[in-house]
Amino acid sequence: MINFDYVRVSTIKAAVDAIVKDNNSLWLAGGTNLVDLMKKGVMTPQKLVDINNLPLKEIKKEGNKLIIGALALNSTVADNELVRKEQPLLALAVQAGASAQLRNMATVGGNMMQRTRCPYFYNTDMPCNKREPGTGCGALKGFNRMHAIFTDTEKCIAVHPSDMSVGLVALDATVLLSGPRGDRRIPFQNFHRLPGNLPQKDNTLERGELIVAVEIPENKLNKHVHYLKVRDRTSYAFALVSAAVAVDLEGSTIKDIRLALGGVAHKPWRLTEVENFLKGKAATEVNYKQAAALAIRGAKGFGLNNFKLKLAPNTLVEALKTATGKS
């Protein structure tokens, strides 16, 4: 194997310093994504900085915010009582990801940072602009069944594979960072990015910035929630399309709502416009269908993923119906 150094740090500062000092280093959390990518030769860090000893595992309430440490395990988040009571959508989204064994290792920060599962990204003998900018997008005219229908470029049509992030983007979460220039907060919506001219960049994190926690504001959206993940088998498969739905219902009127889709873009896809359309409207299938049509405006298929143009709106309708008991 390719030799690399391994160090363990126990403070945020040491973690940040170690990465800043060494351009070819990466943090290691659960390792469920990074180690695979190293085995495949897709990522070749010369140093791994193990951050598992950092005190970032806590899930707590501060004021009216739920704060989830970046090293909290996916399984811990999904089982946590506070999360289940106050932000059940997040628990559902996390639960839908990977397998029990992986969730027992995977962390919140690592989950947000996981790379795309595009096969061309994974195979170093094939073209991929994300892995090796300038080599072309293998998926564009290749096997693109899993790929994006919303994109700002044809340079990369990969999707971000995280389920958890679809829940977090819907819940207006904020990402708390600590970096060489101090602390910073990014709205979750701005954390992941569209590929544009820099498909190699998955997110807006700057070099040396460590995810410390995610913060979710209190809301009244915890009664009518659903995370619907459509996939090729019942478990342990990435989403073809997923939909995160949280609704504040008053009688049968939608007072407030959060919607996001997964498996459709280079980032978790928040549907703010659709939310605005539904706010104040009755929770009916007719309205859901109109909303779904709105949700898919501007989408484009690349061949094998054309079915998502139908699956995405359908999934949204079904998730809305399930969340609001209108099925």
Partner: protein, 743 residues
């Protein structure tokens, strides 16, 4: 050698697995688990192009990487003597020449082994393998069957000639006509256990190999042939196999490569394939295009059946299977013709995968029969009964036994077929559409040749030995059951030894023949041992002196007189009486001429209930009932496990398995277990595995027909038919994924 002894308490009819405890405690040793002193590790370097020639391999960098012991490639590979004589060390399935590892510069497929790197640790071997630099002269590859169908040819040999019974293409003149095309993509066996070979040489002409194989004897033979070695100088061991499904039926090039590497460095070498290599180096179910044309009368009596198939093979070997054969025998139809062709592509050679050609063919045939049932407005079950083949329509011979109608009835009752509203898309449960479907199949029930040695020890216990592998069905358990019943000894006193090529020759485990072949040999050797014991106890001053052998009764470790149970001699005492420590009998056993008088087949039917989500296209299998006529069931537990395993592979075939190749590169894009989907537990509903359990009177002395393959023959059709019943949509290309239902 794997030694299996029944450890359970007092058994009821169906024994628990004799190796169950070893398997669940991790004590079972698989080929990859063998750690020998001084072990070294080998990794294969693969071709990244699918067609062309190697211009140059530069091993300098790799050679100087830490821990590297040797690198073998075409430029320095020692000769493999069996290759030079035009021998056939790896036994090709039908025609052509097997791929000869490291012998020349030609590239036949992407993922072809072009070099092997041996190092002191696995990690160092992997790393060094990445440093081997290869330059190619690349040619354009052809890997897609679609678009190359015009290059399909009829395989050589009479077996593959077009078959005609009555009139060809008679469907054309029928009142009712169905013509439909079906596609099954490449499926990969993907047993959980990776293929692994550990080899070491003892001098110039003696080698020991630990290998994942479904046949220790056939692997031994391949290595003997390749390296020109004597039988007693090639030792092959396979204690446990972590699933094979057909991938372990051949001796693949990597096995020869490992043996070669061990010879070159004169140390034990272990080679474990990677998961991506499992897609290109150990076979796969070939992609197939099939067309079924049916003609029938208005009341559903078949008047014509035409089955055409085109399937793929490599450019160096002709792989064929029996894709179209099921259409010849499944139904009584006066006019049947088949056409089978293969296209040579720049891919590795396919191989048999569970239920092989029969499962492939039954998918198309049984879907088409379902399509016909709607065209003639008849219950698909009734349609099948109307066209039931009472005799083998190909050979015009009686069946040795056939209880397919009983299977139909039993299965229909168990699934609640009468609750089915015959109209498609008529049974809703909210957004879920409910559907019922069925598919049937048959499989030639063979019996091969096997030798078993039985040794009765002085403590009255019995040891049975034969050189077979157990790829999972529980062979030692079944054999223990047979021996216990025939020999009259409690299973706890019986030990079965297998997985060792030096034992008396046993069959390769494949084609659903192990129970029939080996079980018959166990039967015969037990009877022979009893005869020998009878001779001993009826002479000299024995308590049973003078008794006629046919008046003796063998039960629970004692020989008694049928007429007087108080006169009894313990088996142990028979041994003691001989004055030696044990009594041995070896028996070779094989089929007689029963196959000239009867057609011998197993039969099965699958019923499934599915739900299809109207909006998302998700298919859930809610219930499965599979009923098999496999003759006498020796052990209901292991038999039911066989059916369930077959059903699970059928669920994969129907709903998810699809090895996707990007033909621009001739390479797979989902060659890992995250992206190549096999069913997870949550995909598998309660499976009712039922049996007719009536002995076949002719096949062999134990009355058992085969079971492993029919468990997957016709299943995918049952699912596809249920999906049609649920939705009114015919998906004729497997797997039935949500995208296809949304189109």
């Amino acid at each position: 050698m794997a030694t299996h002894q029944y450890l359970g308490g007092q058994p009821d009819e169906a024994l628990d697995r004799v190796d169950g405890r070893q398997k669940v405690t991790g004590a079972a040793k698989y080929s990859v688990d063998d750690i020998l002193p001084g072990l070294t590790y080998a990794v294969l370097v693969e071709s990244t192009i699918a067609k062309g020639h190697i211009k140059k391999i530069d091993t300098k960098k790799a050679q100087s990487a830490p821990g590297v012991l040797a690198i073998i490639y075409h430029g320095n590979a020692p000769a493999i003597p069996g290759y030079e004589t035009g021998g056939n060390p790896a036994k090709p399935p039908t025609g052509g020449e097997p791929f000869r590892v490291f012998q020349n510069t030609q590239i036949y497929f992407a993922g072809q082994p072009i070099a092997i790197v041996i190092a002191d640790t696995y990690e160092r071997a992997i790393y060094a393998a990445t440093l081997v630099e290869t330059e190619y002269n690349k040619d354009d590859q052809r890997t897609d069957i679609e678009g190359n169908k015009d290059k399909a040819v009829v395989p050589k040999g009479p077996r593959y000639a077009d078959y005609i019974r009555g009139e060809a293409d008679a469907y054309k003149n029928s009142v009712i006509k169905i013509e439909a095309e079906y596609i099954i993509p490449v499926e990969v066996h993907n047993p959980m256990e990776l293929h692994a070979t550990t080899a070491f040489w003892d001098g110039e002409d003696k080698v020991t190999v630990f290998d994942k194989t479904q046949g220790v004897k056939s692997t031994q033979r391949s290595i003997m042939d390749a390296f020109k070695l004597k039988e007693q100088n090639v030792q092959v061991n396979t204690d446990f196999v972590g699933g094979g499904f057909g991938s372990g039926l051949r001796t693949w090039p990597h096995v020869i490569a490992a043996v070669l590497a061990a010879k070159k460095i004169n140390k034990p070498v272990k080679l474990v394939l990677t998961r991506p290599q499992m897609f290109t180096m150990v076979g796969y179910r070939p992609y197939s295009w099939q067309k079924i044309s049916l003609g029938a009368t208005r009341d559903g009596v078949l008047t014509g059946l035409t089955h055409e198939a085109i399937s793929e093979t490599s450019t160096y070997e002709e792989f064929t299977d029996r894709t179209v054969d099921i259409s010849k025998v499944m139904y009584a139809c006066p006019n049947v013709n088949t056409r089978y062709k293969i296209v040579a592509l720049d891919k590795s050679t396919p191989t048999w995968m569970r239920g092989p050609g029969e499962a492939t063919g039954a998918y198309a045939l049984e879907c088409a029969i379902d399509e016909l049932s709607y065209a003639v407005n008849l219950d698909p079950l009734e349609l099948r009964i109307r066209n039931h083949a009472d005799v083998d329509p190909v050979r015009n011979l009686p069946w040795s036994s056939k209880y397919l109608k009983e299977c139909y009835q039993k299965g229909a009752e168990a699934i609640g077929w009468n609750k089915r509203n015959p109209k498609p898309n008529s049974m809703q449960e909210g957004e879920w559409q409910l559907g019922y479907g069925m598919g049937a199949g048959n499989f030639n029930a063979n019996r091969g040749r096997a030798t078993v040695k039985a040794t009765l020890l002085a403590d009255g216990s019995l040891v049975l030995q034969s050189a077979v592998s157990d790829s999972g069905p529980g062979t030692a358990t079944t054999m223990t059951s047979i021996a216990s019943n025939v020999f009259g000894l409690s299973p706890g006193k019986i030990t079965f030894e297998l997985g060792d090529s030096s034992l008396p020759p046993g069959p390769t485990q494949g084609g659903s023949t192990t129970t029939s072949t080996l079980g018959s040999a166990v039967h015969d050797v037990c009877v022979a041992l009893q005869q020998k014991m009878a001779e001993l106890v009826t002479i000299q001053g024995s308590l049973l002196q003078g008794a006629k052998p046919e008046n003796l009764h063998f039960e629970k470790g004692y020989i008694t007189l049928k007429t007087d149970a108080s006169k009894k001699v313990a088996y142990a005492d028979v041994v003691k009486q001989t004055g030696s420590s044990q009594l041995e009998v070896t028996k070779d056993s094989q089929a007689g001429d029963e196959r000239n008088k009867y057609s011998i087949y197993s039969f099965a039917v699958h019923f499934v209930q599915v739900q299809v989500h109207r909006l998302t296209g998700v298919v859930r299998i809610k219930k499965v009932v599979t009923v098999a006529d496999a003759g006498k069931i020796i052990n209901e537990k292991t038999a039911a496990s066989q059916l369930m395993g077959g059903v699970v592979s059928g669920i994969g075939m129907a709903l998810m398995e699809d090895a996707v190749m990007d033909h621009r590169f001739g390479r797979y894009v989902n060659n890992n277990l995250a992206d190549y989907h096999v069913p997870v537990s949550a995909d598998v509903p309660d499976i009712k595995a039922l049996f007719i359990d009536k002995p076949d009177p002719f096949i062999n002395p134990i009355g058992s027909k085969g079971l492993g393959e029919i468990a997957n023959v016709g299943f995918a059709a049952a699912v596809a038919n249920a999906v049609y019943h649920a939705t009114g949509k015919r998906i004729r290309t497997l797997p039935i994924t949500p995208d296809k239902l949304l189109r």
